[in-house]
């Protein structure tokens, strides 16, 4: 079994821990990190808005170097935390598309939710994870980056209102909730 584990900066530890807990011992693991090209681009391109300034060297070089070094260190730390052999893969581009493309030859993709982690529901997936889950060409293990929220965070179904108190009650001051 070939397993691809997509890690992002903030939540990589939990993703790796879940992968370590749930991947079979014989799985060939690949750890994937994707650097968002648009951020580096914005950081570098703001300089081009400074009309008429020509500042050698172009600021994009050091940015690329910083980004590459950070991704390399993150992947190495993730492998150490995983505690087993793993291929390391660093990509750059549109994050969600790079992840889907990398999952092409995987049997299982492991990723963390990247949205609201306080409530169960569709918002627990941000745009990137949403795209990846929707388009993944393989099985998906979708983990919570921290303890999953309780069932009581689901709003009641539409039309299912708690019974209203009799009208007369409402004139009384509200009792403090227990």
């Amino acid at each position: 079994m070939r397993a691809l584990v997509w890690i992002v900066e903030d939540t990589w530890e939990m993703t790796v821990d879940e992968a370590a807990a749930y991947l079979p011992a014989d799985a060939a693991v690949t750890l994937l990190h994707v650097a968002p090209a648009d951020v580096e681009h914005v950081a570098g391109a703001a300089g081009r808005g400074l009309l008429g300034r020509r500042r050698p060297p172009e600021p994009e070089r050091p940015l690329r170097a910083i980004s590459d070094a950070a991704a390399e260190a993150l992947l190495a730390d993730a492998r150490a935390r995983l505690g087993r052999e793993a291929e390391l893969r660093a990509r750059r581009g549109r994050v969600e598309r790079e992840v889907v493309a990398a999952a092409r030859d995987a049997d299982l993709l492991v990723l963390a939710r990247d949205g609201d982690h306080a409530r169960l529901g569709p918002r627990s997936l941000g745009p990137a994870a949403r795209f990846v889950v929707d388009h993944a060409p393989c099985r998906v293990l979708l983990v919570w980056p921290d303890a999953p929220p309780g069932l009581d965070t689901i709003p009641p179904p539409p039309g299912d209102h708690p019974p209203r108190p009799p009208r007369a009650d409402r004139t009384h001051p509200r009792r403090p909730r227990p």
Binding site: V8, E9, D10, T11, W12, E13, M14, P36, A37, D38, V39, E40, H41, V42, A43, A45, A46, G47, R48, G49, L50, L51, G52, R53, R54, R55, P59, P62, L63, I66, S67, A69, A70, L74, G93, R94, D114, G115, D116, H117, G126, P145, D146
Partner: protein, 417 residues
């Protein structure tokens, strides 16, 4: 030469100079395009040599001021100020992305105000990027904040933006009065940025993080550049009561940071000349002459017909929004050169409203103006893999609100101080 063909010629020269600055062809460096255009207009009699000389003499102090500020910022870089800021950011953020964003806001606003938006864009942004990488958090909110604040926070002081320097000279305000009028508008623009960015990036900022040991390294800022900047700022404030032109204060600050480095041999004279960007200075001078020619031959009256006169709240709002539109049409440097002489007739406050527009407006894009963005797309300079949509959406959320809030507070401040 009659006015109509003269105006067309001047606008064509302006277009060529701007196109050269955006496209940067190797066969036409933009200083050559601007200076050549200016020379051509004088040779063809569109602008008399005397008028061109007046325009140059008018711009010369501003350009010298700019050169001193560029050398000052470069001296701060050489003294390690920006690396120290990076260590400070990571240390104070204590592994919390929202805290990091707050410190990025504070630092980007301060660097922009004191050392100009060039310093934030060129010197601070890579440091912020590296700080986010070191903290292992998504770099997007922090890099976008730098990019936005370089524009929004550049309202505060005459030295915060080249557009301010140009307008400062024309407005006749003292350094302190300029700052006093602009402190509320700057605060409003930065507040709008905070409200929008911290919500827009809530997903990135609120991701659960495993407790990691905080970065213990908490370096102090290097003393020399901070002391020089503090004394220089105080000097700016005292310049008008003492009757010294602020350009001399900037020159003294630049010298205080550079001369010791020259003596010690840590900086070479050639590197200092490069830091002052002589090509860019020539470009500004050339552009100034070209715009003066276009203004004299009818552009000023055309712009004057669109821009309302006076300093009522409505007039100020209209000036700010027209200035923002013009900045996006042609980039904010020529927009300032075109607008400031027109609105300066009604006093200093309309000039500051125009500055609000030309400084905040470019946040609609990350390359300075929509024209530049489209142009670069057409010329395939932009990586098509990059999705600019998010940045443009963010601009649409912040720019109109920041323009309106800053202009209303400018109007209020003008009644107060």
């Amino acid at each position: 030469m009659p006015d109509a063909p003269a105006l067309i010629l001047a606008l064509a020269c302006l277009g060529v100079a701007l196109a050269a600055a955006v496209a940067r062809p190797s066969w036409l460096p933009e200083p050559l395009a601007a200076a050549g255009g200016a020379a051509l207009l004088v040779a063809l009699g569109v602008e008399s040599a005397a008028d061109a000389g007046d325009a140059l003499a008018d711009l010369a102090p501003t350009v010298a001021f700019l050169a001193a500020l560029l050398v000052l910022a470069d001296g701060c870089r050489r003294a390690g100020l920006f690396e120290a800021i990076g260590a400070l950011l990571v240390g104070h953020a204590r592994q919390r992305p929202r805290r990091l964003l707050a410190f990025v806001f504070a630092v980007a606003a301060a660097v922009t105000a004191v050392l100009s938006l060039d310093a934030t864009v060129v010197l601070l942004t890579p440091i912020v990027f590296a700080s986010a990488a070191r903290m292992r958090t998504s770099p997007k909110p922090h890099v976008y904040a730098c990019s936005h604040l370089a524009n929004s926070a550049s309202l505060l002081l005459p030295v915060s933006n080249l557009t301010n320097l140009l307008a400062f000279h024309a407005s006749g305000l003292s350094f302190t009065r300029f700052a006093a009028l602009m402190v509320l508008p700057t605060a409003a623009a930065v507040a709008v940025e905070w409200l929008v960015l911290s919500r827009f990036f809530a997903g990135e900022l609120d991701r659960p993080r495993v407790a990691r040991p905080p970065d213990e390294e908490r370096r102090r800022l290097p003393r020399a550049p901070v002391a020089v900047l503090a004394v220089t700022l105080a000097g700016f404030g005292l310049s008008s009561p003492l009757g010294i032109a602020p350009v001399w204060v900037a020159a003294a600050g630049a010298a205080a940071l550079t001369l010791p480095a020259l003596v010690r041999g840590t900086a070479r004279p050639a590197a200092l000349v490069r830091a002052a960007e002589p090509g860019f200075l020539v470009f500004v001078l050339g552009l100034g002459v070209i715009v003066a020619a276009a203004s004299d031959r009818g552009l000023a009256s055309a712009v004057g017909a669109v821009v309302p006169a006076g300093d009522s709240l409505l007039a100020l709002l209209a000036i700010a929004f027209v200035a923002a539109a013009l900045a996006n049409l042609v980039n904010n440097l020529p927009a300032t050169l075109i607008l400031v002489p027109v609105v300066a007739a009604a006093g200093p406050v309309p000039v500051l409203a125009a500055l609000v527009g030309v400084n905040v407006g470019p946040n609609l894009t990350y390359v300075g103006s929509l024209a530049t963005l489209l142009w670069r797309r057409v010329l395939h300079h932009e990586d098509t893999e990059v999705d600019a949509g998010e940045f443009v959406r963010l601009g649409a959320l912040t720019v109109p609100a920041a323009l309106a809030a800053a202009t209303v507070l400018l109007w209020f401040a003008a009644r107060l101080v």
